[in-house]
Symmetry: C2
Subunit: 400 residues, 2 copies
């Protein structure tokens, strides 16, 4: 979409979709008008941590909003905060966060690019490193930067307020990070800075430092933190509720199909370009169908539509094949049968003979409670277990 | 006094005299013993502001205590905080504090030296500039330094606590200064740091940063802030209650003679090498005599004993000439005399005629309450006034 083909109101609607905060809409409107008039695209920044280039869908909420600016002809700055990465844990107390080398940072930057350019348009993206301007700073420069901001104001940040109240130590260097981030905006002459809602305070600092430097203050746009597949906690690798964008198509497809219907609508809003009106219209359809389309869409974004087709086929096949019949026969084992799996299979009618049973086990054809079983011994719990051998299903229960 | 000729107890007594704080005496004792054993002199630092090289007696309290360490064979580091001087007012809000140039700082350093070497032994003094280690610091180094200290601890500093409570802004760079000062001690491997009582907190930060760097924490020794000639406020140029060490001998002598007897004992303690026992013994003498000796001593310190002799002679001459007689005649003026000074002089018998009175006024021979009066009109307050014309003195009182 070229800069001028869409009305300003439509542009605003497009950019606002899914945002948590927009400070301020009037300023954004004015700057979009200005951009249209002068043909100068807006400069839209977001900062990324150099240590974590393994992206999941949670990260793509932000990237997708950045891409929306690109859709309207603007320029995105993908800023890698390498200077802080080079420091590691500055106190040296945390040995699990050693300083990164220049090589590691560059390698991570390449990994980032390979991933983010699945969403962002490389032609309209600048990849920058903040060491470019932070590294040459001297004591005097940092003093000057710090003199622009008061302790009281930094302490207003939600987490600082809480920690100060609780008596949890806040180290002085932590106050410097928001200032450094704001200084990045000054150096990059940003029109817009984006981030998660947890970045709101830091983004606002940028506005003030820009004002102080005689620049118009940047527009601040935050995106909500995406819930993970459990629909409860924020998506995060460590919580295991994530969908990684480099995961295989089949895995992504299955994970999307596993989310709740409620969460699905949120994913439509935050993870696709569909307008709110289009999403509202889909609510009349069969949810499973709509969720399948979402899963296809997400796989297409990070792999291809062919991969999405295949992932859907695989999923449907598995579902058709893999679903346990509702009318399954229950077999109660005799008390003296012991733990021999071949014996159990014969007794349950799942194999013709011990030899047949052993062959089937060896071939991987025996599943117990959904897991392939390859050993010759098995312990059946008091609750019993679901056995599947080929297309035959039995519920097996031990002698009471 | 060489390092070893005095017992440790005597050394401690000598060094402790006049101190406000000593943290901690046991550590000082141990380090003095160590110095004696190894022959390695202690390193005793004090920091000075590069902007104010015009010293008054208030500054010499500290310099004199530093000299006491030199008397016992130790090494003094006269540290000029030039890095902050090069910054000026970092916020740029205060145009009266522009950044200093390297040349100005070097010139001030020379002025400092010319003055402080009247007290300190140049052979046992290092003059250092903290830009030596602060200037090469990078963003990463400063982050690392700041990570050694928490916001809560810096905010414990008396003036910060007060300002935070009052809502008076504290700018973030102000938190960096105590850390930089403590870092100076690490870089200089100080055994002792000295300063005014207002520096206590900053000096204690040095102890912690040294401990963190694997150095034994410095001993902190603070000196009280010297009261000015009024005996009430801290000596300061702006309050006009100071005695500058470069003032002429006569001026210094007269200013010392003008202080109260109470303040005199404090000056003996803080501005001379006399022991507390010697000072106690002097309390039996005539105070005016003792004060005269103090004035001679101080002039000798900053000029010479010949200059002190002359200043004393000048002072005594002035006093003999200038002192009002105790048996002065009182004249009560007639009610209708008005404000004409010539008329008053004639009535009081201080002039032969109106013409004689006008001539005397014009010649500057008329003093009222110690001030020369050259106008022809005068208002006498209800309390009256002391008139002096040549060697004639009269107390003049208005009609009741």
């Amino acid at each position: 979409v070229p800069l001028t083909s869409v009305s300003i109101d439509e542009q605003i609607t497009y950019l606002k979709k899914g945002l948590a905060d927009l400070i301020r809409e009037e300023d954004l409107r004015e700057r979009l008008i200005q951009a249209e008039k002068t043909g100068r695209p807006l400069r839209v920044k977001a900062g990324f941590d150099p240590t974590a280039p393994d992206l999941h869908l949670g990260h793509t909420v932000l990237l997708r909003k950045m891409k929306h600016f690109q859709d309207l002809g603007h320029r995105v700055i993908f800023l890698i905060g390498d200077n802080t990465g080079l420091i590691g844990d500055p106190s040296g107390r945390n040995t699990t966060r050693p300083p990164m080398t220049r090589e590691e940072i560059d390698k991570n930057a390449e990994t980032y690019k390979a991933q983010v350019f699945k969403i962002l348009d490389p032609e309209k993206t600048e990849v920058r490193f903040n060491s470019e301007w932070l590294e040459p700073m001297r004591f005097a420069d940092i003093i000057r930067l710090c003199s622009k901001y008061t302790v009281a104001r930094v302490m207003e940040r939600d987490d600082f307020t809480k920690r100060f109240k609780d008596g949890t130590p806040i180290f002085i260097h932590e106050l410097l990070y928001p200032l450094a981030q704001g200084y990045d905006s000054v150096m990059l002459e940003c029109d817009v800075e984006m981030g998660g809602t947890d970045q709101r305070f830091n983004l606002l600092v940028g506005r003030e430092l820009q004002r102080d430097s005689g620049q118009p203050p940047q527009i601040v746009a935050t995106v909500p933190l995406l819930e993970g597949t459990d629909g409860v906690e924020k998506m995060s690798k460590s919580k295991g509720n994530y969908i990684g964008i480099t995961e295989p198509p089949k895995v992504i497809f299955r994970k999307v199909m596993g989310i709740s219907d409620t969460l699905m609508w949120r994913y439509w809003e935050l993870l696709t370009d569909k307008s709110l009106a289009e999403i509202a219209a889909m609510k009349a359809e069969e949810p499973m169908e709509v969720k399948m389309r979402l899963a296809r869409q997400i796989v297409s974004d990070f792999h291809s539509s062919a991969a999405a087709d295949q992932a859907q086929l695989d999923f449907q096949h598995e579902v058709r094949e893999g679903a346990a019949p509702t009318d399954m026969e229950t077999v109660r084992l005799p008390g003296d049968i012991g733990n021999s799996l071949p014996k159990i299979l014969v007794v349950a009618g799942l194999a013709d003979s011990r030899t047949d049973a052993e062959r089937k086990i060896k071939a991987g054809a025996v599943e117990i409670d959904g897991n392939r079983h390859i050993g010759l011994m098995v312990a059946i719990s008091a609750n019993g277990a679901v056995f599947r051998v080929g297309k035959k299903w039995k519920r097996i229960e031990p002698q009471a």
